[in-house]
Subunit: 228 residues, 2 copies
């Protein structure tokens, strides 16, 4: 069975994001996948990149450099326990699903902190092992999120621009950089402004997509996909 890690960032289990997460757990479990959830708010996940992420002495205590120190600590096995736990989950996963409400054209800070702290040099990338040769190659990622703005606002020529524009830093800058292949995003536009029935349809559509997810081809994660 395949292994899936769902990194989930919503404060309210009754939210649409909460329901989308539950639907994914149910549908993927039904398929025989083993599913792990990192429920970031429930875990009170720490988003700040600080000296606390390194156990014991620093490589250079005179001038703290987060990137260098976490890289060195990774090699020594001296990252903090919460990071080691998350890295284990990533290492085992065939697919990572990121489920969140869009905050300011990006992920909520608690999830950005997961990216900043978990995807350490040496673990997820190690120059020149980046992009197609990133250390997490052979894994898949999928960004599933809800928006405040409508589909029209996020259309090409809409006031907020093509939704793909804002996926560039997330899909290309983070996942592709680590060698992860990216499946098409799953976007629920403006669920707060539609009927309860429409929201139910959104959940059904997600369950439906998950049924054939493993047959999907990754997107071509290059500027053409985003800005063509």
């Amino acid at each position: 069975g395949r292994k899936v890690l769902i990194v989930y960032a919503h404060q309210e289990p009754k939210s649409l994001n909460g329901s989308l997460k539950r639907v994914a757990v149910e549908e993927l479990s039904k398929q025989g996948c083993s599913v792990t959830v990192s429920d970031l708010y429930a875990m009170q996940f720490e988003p700040r990149a600080t000296r606390n992420d390194i156990v014991g002495c620093l490589h250079n205590p005179e001038e703290f450099n987060y990137g260098v120190e976490t890289w060195e600590a990774y090699k020594r096995g001296d990252l903090s326990n919460d990071l080691i736990e998350e890295q284990k989950k990533v290492q085992e996963a065939d697919l990572m699903i990121f489920q969140f409400p869009l905050y300011w054209f990006s992920m909520p800070a608690i999830m950005k902190g997961w990216m900043d702290r978990v995807l350490v040099q040496g673990f997820a990338h190690d120059f020149p092992n980046c992009y197609d040769s990133g250390l997490l190659k052979n894994k898949l990622a999928l960004f599933s999120f809800t928006t405040g703005g409508s589909r029209e606002m996020y259309a090409k020529g809409g006031i907020s621009g093509d939704i793909r524009y804002l996926l560039w830093p997330i899909q290309h800058g983070i996942m592709h950089f680590c060698g992860v292949k990216v499946l098409a995003p799953h976007i629920c536009f403006a669920p707060e402004y539609v009927s309860e029935e429409k929201r139910k349809e959104m959940l059904i559509a997600w369950a439906q997509r998950l049924k054939t997810l493993w047959k999907e081809e990754p997107i071509n994660c290059s500027p053409e996909w985003y800005f063509k």
Copy 2:
């Protein structure tokens, strides 16, 4: 005298980011500006958007909705003290400078949390008061940051794509959405891979730019600037 808020996110005062921040404080103070710094790591600024941001009772305790609850709390004057403090600084500022190292094609989570939590509906925007009629109009913002990747990697056609691609969510999606006009970014490429002398030149160039900053015209914050 003009008022400047510097929102600063680096753990190490001796870093180039720390020096860039100090140069800005010195140069702008010399000009007669009054400068305030929010040193996010030193403040241990909270990046997580949670129920703790609302003092007292919730508008809808049955189903927690962060956007709605902070909007309501703002109107009642019931946001947490750290948010009220930051909003006062924003309200008074003519210019906001964001100083940070680029983390994963974006700002560090601690700064993203500042955006998520401080720029509350009712305070920074209030539909239809967004974009050119956002509530923070008549203010300026400038993103000043360092990168790990080189200028060549962030060129159009480079492996990491035009650096402007990743500025879209930050400059347009956040600042323009709130009505803030955006000055050209200030970017120090790959300071960790250049000589001490080159890094000193970077500091001098920043001080130099600040001398005539108030004569600069904002960028045209539309898709053409980013994706032309």
